[in-house]
Symmetry: C2
Amino acid sequence: MTGADLLCDTLLVNGIDVCFANPGTSEMAFVAALDRKPQMRCILGLFEGVVTGAADGYGRMTGRPAATLLHTGPGLANGLANLHNAKRARTPLVNIVGDHASYHLKYNAPLTSDIDSLARPMSDWVGRARGPAEVGATAEAMIVAARTTPGVATMILPADAAWGDTSHAAARKIDVPKMRAVDDQQVAAVAEALRRHPGRIGMVLGGEAALAGGIELAARAAAATGARLFSEVLPARVSRGRHLPNVERIPYPPDLARAVLKDIDLLVLCGTDEPVAFFAYPGKPSRIAPEHCEVMTLAAKGDDKLQALRTLAEFIGAKAIVSPRDAAPVGGLPSGTLTEDAIAVIVAQLLPENTILAEEALTSAQRLYALGASSAPHEYMMVTGGAIGIGPPLATGAAVACPERKVINLQADGSGMYTLQALWTQARERLDVLTIVCSNRAYAILKREMANLGVDKIGQNASRMIDIDDPALDWVSLAKGMGVEAARAATCEQLADLVRGGIARQGPFLIEAVL
Amino acid sequence: MTGADLLCDTLLVNGIDVCFANPGTSEMAFVAALDRKPQMRCILGLFEGVVTGAADGYGRMTGRPAATLLHTGPGLANGLANLHNAKRARTPLVNIVGDHASYHLKYNAPLTSDIDSLARPMSDWVGRARGPAEVGATAEAMIVAARTTPGVATMILPADAAWGDTSHAAARKIDVPKMRAVDDQQVAAVAEALRRHPGRIGMVLGGEAALAGGIELAARAAAATGARLFSEVLPARVSRGRHLPNVERIPYPPDLARAVLKDIDLLVLCGTDEPVAFFAYPGKPSRIAPEHCEVMTLAAKGDDKLQALRTLAEFIGAKAIVSPRDAAPVGGLPSGTLTEDAIAVIVAQLLPENTILAEEALTSAQRLYALGASSAPHEYMMVTGGAIGIGPPLATGAAVACPERKVINLQADGSGMYTLQALWTQARERLDVLTIVCSNRAYAILKREMANLGVDKIGQNASRMIDIDDPALDWVSLAKGMGVEAARAATCEQLADLVRGGIARQGPFLIEAVL
């Protein structure tokens, strides 16, 4: 058995049976090993940003890691932006990167690079199997790191470690340590603080605390203390819908975020860090919580958030299940010329139960999250790390994870161009993804950011870097080029019809919503 | 004046007046500064791999750096693969990466990452302006590094350094140190060695030594000593054509490379490192030169190669200009069903004088380089670092650098998908690029590599990672989606007609050559 076989077996015996991949020559031993393991589902992305973003989507939906397979330093580099999003989403992910055979490195062949240095910033853990004898232990450490952080664990696999002999070794199922339980003292301190600030409390939910079970627990404490529930600014995943208590999203623009939080005296963090401004602006603070606001951690990111919330509810005597308030209905379908807001309303109205929404349309879909309080039950996922190009891969991975659910990728055109190759994987794997491209033909967010910087007039050079209307991208052709059927909508009626059709069919479909 | 203005002025006064860019919020002060400098040509790429690859193409053709502008860690990450190629090509390039305002970093906002760690592996120099007061000196050091290495110099520009005040400072024109002259003793030692191995010598030419002037000088020494002239395995740029002495390319497959070099007793390096196997294979050596072969350096990569070649020719008394041998004509145009070889012959036959050939079709265009010995004069550029996805951006940058020349990008489909967004930039800038996609619908090179590993049967999982025929990519639609006209050729006659048409027209055009 080769090192590559041992690695595959270790993955499989530990329940990791999906591998998103774009291998190269140095990974051929691993590919040969995968060929001997039909239990492993291998899914090709035609660019590594698709591979890592899909693994992120898979991990966000299942809570279990998928594997990736990337080709040396440049292949890893191409996947780093979406690994950054996965790391920020705390997605469990095992990221396998091939390297030259160890003895070949000193020759500095053209593809040689410092993979460790590249991997570290976007990984929670990095390890290297220096030979076949180290493959088993390194793989096990990688899996433990991915599952317990949880986060991105990168294993560098030199070609000779992959093709070398490991017949003495056997794949082992690993006991993954449980999440750290939050001790009673910490919970009691939070309970005590909650009593001090009735009606002026925010609870920020991340990780499992932002999923249905966590939201229900948090809502009990919130109801008892007059707290508001918030998600992170760009949440990895939040359960949404009229069946659940509402979790407000902290707005992305820092001024708006500060306005939303201005009456909060106590911010309780459950599975998140303190929310801060996404970017700094001259003369404005980096924090978004009010200066006087006390910030307390109920559960850190790696802690057992549900246990902490359960104990908290107990300590403050908030045991009753909270019914969601009657959410205002989304309202009727809009008509006439398509607007950004109309896209959000149409999607919120029509999305079927159990939809997974991968949203990467910050400027176009501003109201979609809020409207979700009145929609059918769904899961909402965003670009956690601000590295654009996550939407199409995220939808791809979510569809692999949940083949029985409809996935809708509401996607900006500028960011969509970063990883449009994901459409091909959706076509190949017959994934049930409906992509709606909000085609405003600009990096619209940057126009606002210029204004935030005090620039009121955009000249020739700036416009050449912000507008993408010359030539206009034709998303119907782009989709067709990758084997995905597509159509264009310019009115609300056309969009609603196409969304209905896209939901009714099985398999990938793309709608270009022209603004 | 802001730090960003000072940086722009420093670039401009030092002759850097093209900026390939994909900025984000943290670079808005830089964008605002560019808006005040109409002398700077700003060219948007819809993905950072396009940005850095285009800067590489520009630098390879002009010998002068273009600037890039990238958005924090993930933006840099997306550009790293082609920065790797640029570094391996020794292309002068100034790579500017925005970062959060320095005081914002400690808040670990979602887009924060260790940019220095990401930049180092693919940069020859990395610097950070820790505030506006450091912008001038950092920019100057960056330019010196880019021009003297030559290579990739990365400057990290925090937002507060960009928007901060630098009105006390002024942009300075910098004296760039000359290339190191090779001393007479080193040249004399090579001359002496050349006399010891008549007829069993290889000279490997890189950098300026592989361009017309260098080749003519090297050919004199070669004629006098019976040496053969070689390019690197994947050269950055070689001048080719029937007007020049032939420079053989060392083959990419190590076994073939070893066969070509087997009778070489002395390898003289001029502007290159010793060529080695691109990858290691079990039981095969990493070197490709014969074991007994002596390897000497006439000029290192940063040395003055032309001076060294001139002195060498003098020392061995080889002063006469060498006429190129009569190269065998390419031969008539092929007919019938399209084959890989036919594509190479058609391009070699039809390419007009002064063409720039950006070739990233390793398996399909194998004979194209060799055929170039008999073609009209042209420049040949390849994927130096093995990071795929360089072809379309390289062609883009070369076309910006040389608007009066036809650029032909002979492109594999698998690698082309990595940076297909370059087509949009070609359309927007009306660049005279003819793209020919060799559509074999597979990572064909990996099939050979599986065989090299001793795997003779490719099963389901391996095939799912190597074949890209399901669904077939439709390059005509993909090009149309990005505003580039395109057509498909399935026979030699169709391809020849379309190539003639593509050459005759101005502006971008794409041909899908279906194999």
